[in-house]
Structures are given as C-alpha cells and as structure tokens.
C-alpha cells in the first residue's frame, strides 16, 4: 500500500466507488425505464464503463496492473458489441419505423 503515488492518494478510493456506483445505477435505471432502444444501449455502455472505472481505480490503489489489462479487454469487446448491437437497432428501425422496445413483445406464449 505504501507504494501508491502521492498524486493518486489525494483523492480517496471511496470517491471513485461512489462515482461508479452512481453511474451504474443511472445505467440500470435507464435500461429499466427508457423505451428507446438507442438510449437503452447507451445506458448499457454506461454500466460497462462504471465497471471499468471501478477496475481501474482498484488497480491503481492496489498497484496491480491486472485490472487495467482487464479494462482493455472490456473496451475491445464492448466496441465489437456496439457494432452488432447498433446493426440490430438499425434493422429494428427498418422493420418497425421505430426504436421503441415495447413494440418488440411478440415472443411470448
């Protein structure tokens, strides 16, 4: 613990935790409440990045680079996921002339 640089220690770890929790809750709320598929998508990204932030901050405070490596992977995978996700949304829009997820309720008994 004593090897953590002074610059970083000026801001306590808890601040990062609160921030990422707030971001994550905003993301979850958005996913649950919004109807626009694009907004939902952005909220998912928000949750991902909240996690990324958490990983990075722990990584820094514990002087363990593993967390940062992890974050790189998450960002790469998220980029790929965005490609697919946006393509799906484009297709939904072409078919329904809308991005309202509540219209997509045909898969039921």
């Amino acid at each position: 613990m004593n090897e953590i640089p002074e610059v970083i220690r000026t801001i306590p770890l808890n601040y990062y935790l609160f921030l990422s929790t707030a971001l994550f809750v905003i993301g979850v709320t958005g996913v649950l409440l919004r109807r626009n598929a694009i907004i939902i998508f952005m909220c998912i990204e928000l949750m991902l990045n909240a996690v990324n932030l958490l990983l990075v901050s722990f990584s820094a405070y514990r002087s363990d680079p593993n967390g940062q490596v992890f974050v790189f992977f998450i960002m790469a995978v998220a980029a790929a996921e965005v490609c697919v996700g946006l393509a799906i949304i484009v297709m939904i829009y072409r078919n329904l002339q809308s991005t309202d997820v509540h219209l997509l309720n045909k898969l039921k008994w």
């Binding site: 979850v28 649950l32 109807r35 509540h102 997509l104 309720n105 045909k106 898969l107 039921k108 008994w109």
Partner: protein
C-alpha cells in the same frame, strides 16, 4: 530368430468350421433379401446349395477326424468377457457334434430338395427357403457351440425358426395360434435352461463344456446343486423335445408345411433336448435322482403319446404323436444311462420319421391338401413309390428286423430291461401301440377303396422326382441305418457305440456299472423275439380291423367312453386351458380393470394435469415485454445481494 509356425492345417480347419454354419446363414440373407424378387430356380440353388456344401464340408471334417480322440475346439473370436466370465465364440468338434452335423446338414439337404418340389406352387417360396436356411444355421450353432451360451443361442434360434415356419401360412388364424403356442411352451422350457446355465456358471465359474465337465466330478455325486442343474436343464429339454407336460405344442405344430414337420419337428430340432443331455452326460451321471426322473418322464411320454396316436384321424397328427412317443423313448434310454443307445435312436428316428413325414407330405400333395385319413384309402396304386417308401418307414418305426428302428429300439428296451422290469413292460406296451397306429395309418391310407371325392380321385398322381428321390434316399437309410449299431449277439463290434465311447469316459469312471453289459445271449434273444412278436401282433390286429373288416374311423362326435377320451387327447389342452390360460386371462382382466384403470391411470393422468395446470398459471409471466424481464432480473440480483449482506 525363432519363427512361430502357424499350423496351416488348424487355420484351414477353423475356416471349415466357420463355413459350415455360415453358408446356410448367407443363404438365408440372400433368400431373405431377395424374397419375391429372385426367380425360383435361384432360390432353390442358393437354399439347397448352401446346405449341400455344408454337408460336404461336414463329411470332410468327419473323415479327417482322428479316431478315438477327444475332439478339438476352434475359437473364432472372444465373444463375451466380463470380470471372471469369459465366453469365447468357439466351435467344438467331437464325435457327438460331428454326427449331429452330418445329420442336420444331410437330412436337412434332403428335405430342402423335397421342399423345392413340395412348395413349388406356394407364393412364399423364397421366404420358406430363407427360414429353412436360418433354421439350419441355428441348429448348427446349437450342435457346434463349445459352451452353453452358444448352445442357448442356437436353442433360441431354432425356436424362433420353428415359430416362423409353423405360422408360415400366417393368414390362417389357427396356424398363428399354433405357432404362438409352440413359442410359449418352448419359452417355459427355455427359462429352465437359462437358470441351469446361471447355476452352472455359479458353481463352476465357466460355461465352456470342457471346463465344466473336467470340474464336474469335484462336487459329490447327487449333491443338491448338481441335481438342481440337471433338473433345470431337463426342463429345457422337456420344452424343446416335447415331453410331458410341455408336449402339447408339437401336435399343433403340424400346422406348418410338411417339410417343416419333417425337418424341425421330427428329425432335428426336437432332438436338441437329447443332444443337450448327451452333451452334459457327466452332470447327469452324477445325479441319479434326475436320471430316474428323466426315465419316468420319458416312459410316461412314450406310453401317453402313443395311446393318443391310436385314434387320431389326421395323418400328420398320428406322426406327431408318434414323434412325441419316440422322443419319450430316447429320454427313457438317457434315464437308464444308455447314452449312446439313445443317440442311436436319434439317428434312426431322424431317418424313418423324416421319411414318414415326407411320405405323408407326398400323400397330402396328391390329395390336394387333404389330411384326414378317413377320406383316403387305396392310394398304393396311384402312389407306388410313396407307398413302398412309407412301408419301409413303418416297418422301421415298428421295430421289425432288419430295418433301422428294430436295432435302436431293441437296444433301448434291452437296457431298460436291465434297469427295471416294470419300465420295460411299459416300454413294450408303447412299442405295441406304435406298431398298431403306424399300420393303421398305412392300411387306412394305402389299402381298401378310395373314400375321397371324385375330384380328388382324378387329381391323384405320384409326386415329382424332387420329392420321390428324397423319399428313396431316406428309405435306404432307414433300411440300412440300423447296421451301425448291431446288438452284441450278432456282432461284438457296435460301430456307433465304439465311435461315441470317448464322449462317455468321464461318466464311465463315475459309474462303471451302468456301462457294463452283463446280459446273456439267451435273454437278449428272448427280448428281441418278444418285441418283434408284439410288433407283428399289433400289425395283424390293425390288418384285421382296417383291411379285413374294412372299418373306417367314425365321424367326429360319435366316439364313446375311453375311445372318446383318447380321441380328444385326454382333454389335456382343455385342462391346460382351464387351469392355466383361463386363470391368467382372468387375472389379467381383473388387474386391467382395477389396478390399471383404478390406480395407475388416475395417478399418471394426475401428474399430467398438475403439470398442465402449473404451466398454464406460470405462462402469464412470459409477457414478451423485455422491460419486465429486465426488472425481474435486476430485482433478483438486488435480492441476492441483500440476502448476501444479511447472511454475512
């Protein structure tokens, strides 16, 4: 470097042993797959040819067999290996299996040739030959197998073929019922056989003949285990060889085509039980109680079946009861430990009974399917070859010298006389009845005036060459077949007995007394004289009744008293029906009504209803709206986290 010489000869022998059963199987595959597509000439060629080649190979094996040796086994592959149980797929070639091979393939070939003529008008020609070949294959497995498991496969295989061939004309319901009856009766016996195999494995840790029989004498004589094993084996033999009380299937099995009756239900399959006892002779010698039981059952069957045969009017039924009776004789011989004599009778019986059945087939063929002897008569002019050959068969089965049956039956009676005089008297009674019903059959069929319709009279004709030739060959065999076992008064050299002797050495060591002959020649002559006189008297009585007085059996339903009882086969079928079939049926119906409908069905349906109702309730949760799923998911995660926190 030392090179291991593979004995070329052994490899060739193994190939021959493999080919003998394999060829009929290939014949079965070709005829079975090509059923209805192959022309009849090809079917005949494949069906008869495969058996003929097997026969020739068997002759080769027989000739090259070293005299006096104890036989050899050839292992084809390792079949079952689990823990300490090891069952190789191996063939055992020794005196017993060699003669059975010759018998099965030889008589089988003759009957195949006969079938080509007999079945020529039948639409199921290919199917028939396929089944016959499959039968030969199974029978060869049965006699060649080197362990009880292989014998059991063959045992079941011949049972299956018997079923298929009895119900060959499967559009007739009574024939199908006869087939089912044969199958079920055999299954009862098979259960005994199977249990015996389990006990053998439990006791000796192996089911291979050589291992079992060398270990056999380690148990004390007439110990409970050995008695149980032999009795259970005998239950199997009772089913397969139609002994009391499981004999009722054999007369009904006459529903099948006549060549089938000749091949399966007279010459080969029904003697499987005798083969099995002979194979296990060491075990039987160690169980005197079982032997006594075998002798009693055999004797009872011989007398009982012969008495039923006295008043049957269906030509094939007479022969069927005669077969049951003769099989009883063979078991009687086994029971008094006259093993080689019993086998002698198997051989001679195969010749003359196959001959009689084929002759009966020829008569039925000429009479356009008529089997009732009351509608025959005077056929000797129309069917001269059939008449003469059947007469030879009748003389042989009645025990009139010098035909084959005389020697074998006389030998059996001589051994029984040594064993027990009362049994001998009953044996003689059966012999008397045999002679009577056979001559009755001959006189009713071939003598007197023709009693059939005009149409049948015009149709009368001698059978084609392919049918008379087998008759002639079998007649020759029935005439000279007895000379392979001349009684001691004529010749000290009993060629069949000497040939088979190595099979029974172990038994002989266990019980030397039973194998010694201590009958003086005067007694032997007397016994022979008595049995010949008895047979002749029976023949004369039959002649007086059915030729001189020209009496014809009365129509159905007019019999009285004892005659009626016998004509209806002592009501044994009805008895079985009322004490076994009906109660089982009643029990099944009751179980169906109360247990099935009252308990099992409601429970099963109840489970179905609960599941359906649950599903109907739960499916409203699947709304299709993603938001609600996500909400549930998040709520779930939060719940887990909260619980996690509280628990800690």
């Amino acid at each position: 470097m030392q090179q291991i010489q593979v004995p070329e000869n052994n490899a060739a022998m193994a190939l021959i042993c493999l080919l003998i059963p394999l060829l009929p199987f290939i014949g079965f595959v070709i005829n079975g797959l090509g059923n209805g597509k192959l022309p009849k000439s090809v079917v005949t060629l494949v069906g008869c040819g495969s058996v003929l080649v097997s026969f020739l190979l068997s002759i080769y094996l027989f000739i090259s067999f070293p005299a006096g040796s104890v036989g050899y086994t050839t292992e084809i592959f390792n079949w079952i290996k689990v823990g300490s149980l090891s069952i190789p797929f191996a063939f055992q070639i020794d005196q017993l299996s060699l003669i059975m091979l010759l018998l099965v393939t030889g008589v089988g070939f003759i009957i195949h040739v006969y079938s080509a003529g007999y079945m020529s008008h039948d639409p199921g020609f290919g199917k028939f030959f396929a089944f016959l070949n499959l039968f030969i294959f199974s029978m060869l497995l049965l006699v060649m197998g080197a362990n009880y498991a292989m014998m059991f496969i063959g045992w079941e295989g011949v049972g299956l073929c018997s079923y298929l061939l009895i119900g060959f004309w499967n559009k007739v319901t009574p024939y199908n019922n006869a087939a089912k009856k044969a199958f079920i009766m055999n299954r009862i016996g098979d259960l005994g056989f199977l249990l015996a195999i389990f006990l053998i494995f439990m006791t000796y840790g192996s089911v291979t003949y050589s291992e079992v029989f060398t270990q056999a004498p380690t148990l004390p004589v007439s110990s409970e285990m050995i008695t149980a094993i032999t009795l259970l084996l005998f239950v199997g033999a009772m089913g397969k060889s139609a002994q009391l009380p499981l004999y009722t299937w054999l007369p009904d099995a006459m529903a099948g085509p006549t060549p089938v009756s000749a091949l399966i239900h007279a010459a080969t399959m029904v003697t499987a039980g005798i083969y099995m006892v002979l194979r296990s002779n060491v075990l039987y010698t160690m169980a005197p109680i079982t032997l006594e039981f075998v002798a009693i059952i055999g004797l009872a069957t011989a007398v009982f079946a012969a008495s039923i045969g006295l008043f049957q009017n269906d030509i094939k039924k007479v022969l069927a009861y005669s077969t049951v009776s003769q099989l009883g004789y063979m078991f009687l011989a086994l029971g008094v430990m006259a093993y080689s004599t019993s086998f002698f009778h198997v051989l001679t019986h195969a010749f003359f009974k196959a001959l009689l059945f084929l002759g009966a087939g020829s008569v039925i063929h000429a009479m356009s399917g008529e089997q009732d002897m009351r509608n025959m008569g005077g056929l000797r002019k129309a069917l001269p070859v059939t008449f003469i050959t059947m007469l030879i068969g009748t003389l042989a089965i009645s025990g009139i010298p010098p035909f084959a049956g005389f020697f074998s039956k006389d030998e059996i009676l001589a051994h029984v006389f040594e064993h027990n005089k009362i049994m001998w008297a009953f044996g003689l009674l059966a012999s008397f009845m045999t002679s009577f019903y056979m001559f009755r059959l001959m006189f009713l069929t071939f003598f007197g005036g023709f009693r059939g319709t005009e149409e049948q009279r015009h149709h009368l004709h001698e059978s084609p060459k392919s049918m008379t030739l087998p008759l002639i060959i079998l007649a020759i065999l029935s005439t000279i077949g007895g000379f392979m076992g001349l009684p001691p008064v004529f010749s000290e050299n009993h060629s069949l007995g000497n040939f088979l002797a190595p099979l029974f050495t172990a038994s002989q060591q266990l019980n030397p007394e039973a194998f010694g002959h201590h009958m003086d020649h005067a007694t032997e002559y007397m016994l022979m004289g008595i049995s010949v006189v008895v047979a002749l008297i029976a023949a004369i009585i039959a002649y007086v009744i059915y030729v001189s007085k020209k009496s014809v059996p009365a129509a159905e339903g007019t019999e009285t008293g004892l005659h009626k009882l016998i004509y209806n086969k002592y009501y044994i079928d009805e008895l079985y029906d009322s004490i076994i079939v009906k109660p089982v049926m009643g029990l099944s119906t009751g179980l169906y009504r109360f247990v099935e409908k009252g308990i099992i069905d409601p429970v099963v349906h109840g489970f179905g209803r609960i599941t359906m109702g649950g599903g109907r309730g739960l499916r409203v949760l699947q709304s299709g709206a993603i938001g609600s799923y996500l909400l549930t998911m998040v709520a779930g995660i939060i719940l887990i986290l909260v619980l996690n926190y509280i628990m800690r």
